[in-house]
Point group: C2
Chain length 509, copies 2
Amino acid sequence: MPNDGYRRLTATKINACQGALEVLLNADDAREMALGSLDRVEVRAGDHSAIAIVNTTETMVGRGEIGLFCETWDRLAVGEGAAAEVVPMSRPNSVEHIRKKIAGGLLTESEIRELVRDIVSGRLSNREITAYTVAIQINDMTMEEIVHLTQAMVETGERITFTRQPVYDVHSIGGVPGNKYAPITVAIAAAAGLMVPKTSSRAISSACGTADFMEMVTNVVHTGDAIREIAERVGGTLVWGGGLNLAPADDIIIRAERPLSLDPHCQVLASVMAKKLATGVQRLLIDIPMGRGTKVEDEEGARRLARDFIELGRRLGVEVRCAITYGGQPIGHAIGPALEIREALGILEGSLHIGSIREKAIELAGALIEMDRLAPKGRGRIIAEEILDRGKALEKFREIIEAQGGDGSIKSTDIEPGRFTRDILSPRHGYVEGVHNHTLVRMARLAGAPRDKGAGLVLHRKEGQSIDEGDTLITVHADAEWKLEAAVGHATANWPVRIEGMILEEVIE
Amino acid sequence: MPNDGYRRLTATKINACQGALEVLLNADDAREMALGSLDRVEVRAGDHSAIAIVNTTETMVGRGEIGLFCETWDRLAVGEGAAAEVVPMSRPNSVEHIRKKIAGGLLTESEIRELVRDIVSGRLSNREITAYTVAIQINDMTMEEIVHLTQAMVETGERITFTRQPVYDVHSIGGVPGNKYAPITVAIAAAAGLMVPKTSSRAISSACGTADFMEMVTNVVHTGDAIREIAERVGGTLVWGGGLNLAPADDIIIRAERPLSLDPHCQVLASVMAKKLATGVQRLLIDIPMGRGTKVEDEEGARRLARDFIELGRRLGVEVRCAITYGGQPIGHAIGPALEIREALGILEGSLHIGSIREKAIELAGALIEMDRLAPKGRGRIIAEEILDRGKALEKFREIIEAQGGDGSIKSTDIEPGRFTRDILSPRHGYVEGVHNHTLVRMARLAGAPRDKGAGLVLHRKEGQSIDEGDTLITVHADAEWKLEAAVGHATANWPVRIEGMILEEVIE
C-alpha cells in the first residue's frame, strides 16, 4: 500500500449509481495525484473507508472535491461536505487474476476466492468484470476451477440451513418462454412427501419469471427463516430468491454478460450450483431446455452441460439429475404473469389439458420423486401423474399459497389478463413449421410484461398444428392501449411464426 | 429497424461525458419501453439523430425526460427542453462481429469496417469495446484481418498528403522511459536530405512523451496543412499527432485496453501502421524496445513483432525496417519533460556524451539513411555520426524548432528543471544489477510529470555501473514540494534499483 499522493478532499454526493464503488474527481486534481480514469483510490471518511474506482470530470466536481456515487456514498456513510482522505492505490490483485485467465492460465483456489470477493465488494470496475466474462467464455475453466468458483460464490453470500432433510430442488437453466412447470412440479413433489424449497428469479431479459407470476397469487418475498419454516411445514415454497443475497456474485456477473449475450459454460455451472448450495440443496434436478432460440441449441451441448452438472454436483456433495427438454417453442400457450399463472392453475385444477406443459411438469416431478431412495425406480412418472390427476397437487399448491400469505381458494377463472386485447390472424392456411421464441418474448415485453401483470400473449397454434387463413394465431393482452399497439406493431414487422415452409419473415437477432 | 415502442421525451443535458453516445432514461420510462441498461435507442431531435446507449436512473432524470450525456448532446445539437423522439433499436451488427471474434471466428473485410466505424462513431459501449480487446488479445487476428483493420482505421480518420516524396518516418512502440531519440534521429535524417514528418504522442501512462518535451522548446500543435508545409520545406517535424484525428479508433481502443494493461498483438500492428498510412508514410523504421518491464519482454516476441510489421507493410505498400533495441532500463539518464529535452539538446550540441541515447539515436538515423536507395549500403551509421558530430544535426534541429514557431537559439543550459530537488543515496557499495522501469515512471509521475514540465528524475547509475555507499543514485525534481515528497516516498517504499545481487526490493506490478 503506497502512502504517497495523499490528499484531503471534500465529499459531495453524486445522484447516480454505477454498480461498483466509484468516485468522481476533478480532472486537475486527478492529474496532480497522477491518477487517471479507472485507477483506484482508498477513500477514508470518519470511521469508514472504501477502495473505489476513479472517474474524472472537468465540470461536474470542482477542485478539492470528491464526488461519491451512490454505492460509495452509502459505504462511507458521510454527510455532504465531510472531509475525505484520498490515497492512490495500486490495482487489486484480482485484476492480475483476470489477466492470467486472459493469458490462458489456470486460477488457484485463493486467486478465485480473491476475484469473487472483489466482484462482490465492488472493487472491480464494469470493464474489468466484462473482461473476466469474455476471458472465461473463450478460455473456460477446468472442473477444479469451477468447484472453487462455486464455493467462493457461496461463501460471499447468505445461506439458509434446513433441519428437515434431504433438501430437494428443481431448476431450469432457462431460455424458453412460458416455462411455468415450477408450481405444478413443486406441488406434485411436495404432495409426494419431498421437501422442495424452491427459490425463483424475476425476469431479467425474459418476459416473465416464476416469481413474476407467483406474486399474482401469493407473497413471494420472504426471509431465509420464513422460507425454512414454510418449507419444513408444508413441503415446498415458490418464493423470490433475489432478495436473499444468495451467491450475489451471480447477479453482478450476469449484468456483465448481458450486453454481449455471453453465457460462459463454467459460469453457468458455478452460478446454478452456488445458488443451490447456498440453500443447502442435496438432491437437484436440472431442466436443460434445448432447441433453436434457447441457451443450448444442440444435443451435444446439452449433454455436455448435463455431464458437467452431474460431475460438479458429485464433487460438491450434491446428487444431480438432468432432464434435457425441448425448448424450441414456448412451453404451453401462455406468456406473461397473469396468463402463465392462469395456465398453471388450469393444469393443477385439471380444467386445462395442454400437453407440453402438463407432460413436462409431470416428467420433472417424476424424476424428483425417483431421486428419493424409497421410491420405486421407474415409477416416478406414474406416481406424479396420479398425484396431479387426483387433485393432491392442487391441494398442496393451495397449502403453499396460504403458507406464503395468499388466498388458497383462488381459481384459474379468477385471474384476469390485460383488458386491451388484439387477435393476430393467420394470413394463410398451412401448418406451423417454426416459432421464434425471441420475437414472442419481445412482443410480451412491449405489451408490458413482466411489470404489467396482465400483459402477455397466448399462442394458439404450435409446431405441427394446422391453421386456416383468418384463424387467430396469437392473442395479445396489455394493461394499456399504446403498449398493445407496440406489441402488435412488433409482430407485424417481425412475424414470430412460420407457416408451412412459406417463410413470412426469418428474424435473426 | 423496429418502429414500435416509440416515445416523445424532453431533452435535458447531463453534465458529464461517457466516451460514447449515451443517454439517461428514468427507470420507469425504460421499463415501459422494455428497455434495460445498455440497450440502444435512436434519438431524433430537430434535424439530427443518433443511436445511443441507454443508462437508467431512479432519480437523476424525471419521467418523460431524456438525459443526454455530452457526446449525445453535441451530436443532436438541441437546446434544453427540446422534444426528442426515442425509438428502441436492436443491437448494432458490430456486436455480433465481436461475438464472432469471441467464438474464434475470422472477420471479413466488411465486418471489420463496420466494427471500426461503430467504435469511432460512439455506437459501441465501453463494455463492448473492452470485450473486443479481450477477444483479440486471446484469439488474435490473421494477417488478412490485420490488413483490413489497418485500412478501416485509416478510412475512419483524417489524412495528410505530401507532394514531396518519399515520406520517411521512425516510430517506437514504446514502453521504455527516457526514450528521447526522436529529436536527434529526425534532425540527423533531415540533415541527410530525407523528409521525416514525425508526429508524436503525449504521455498516457508513461512519464513523458516526445510531444511533452518538445513543447518546452517549440509549438507542437499544428494543422495537417502546416505539418506538410514545414516538413516539405525543412525536411522534418516534431509535432503532436493527437489533435489531427489520424486513425481515431486507436485512442478509443487504447482507453479500453488500459484497465487490464492489454496489448493485443494484432492491434499494436494495426494501430501503428494506420497512423503512419494516414500521413502517407512510405518508408518506416520501427524501434522495438525489448527487455524486462517493456511491452516486449523476450527476443522471440520482438522478432515475431518485427516480422509481422514487415509483412503488414509489404501488403500495404510501406517499406518497413525494424530495430530491436534494449529497453530493460531507461534510455539515457533523464526522465521528465525539461530533463529529457535538456539531455537531447546536450547530445545534439555535443556537450553531453551519454552512450545509450547517443548510440541509439545514431543507429536509428543510420538505418533510416540506408532506406534511401541512393545511400551507400552499410554506411548509414557512419554518415549519421558524422552529421551529428559536425553540428549539422543541431543546425537542422534549430531549423525545425523555428519552423514550428520556437526560438532556434535555445541551448541545453537554458532549460531549467524543477527547483525542488532531492538526492536519493545508495545505501551500500556495489554494482547496479537491475533497474525497474515501472517504479521510475511512477516516481516521475508522482513528482508531477508530464504536466509539470520541471518534474522528473535523473538516474545517475545504470546497469553494470558501480556506486559507493552514500553516493547519489537518483535526483528527483519537482515544481511543488509536496509532489517531491510523494515521489521520494514512493522510491523509499519501492526501491527502483537493485544493487549487486542484494535485492532491496523486488517489485511486481
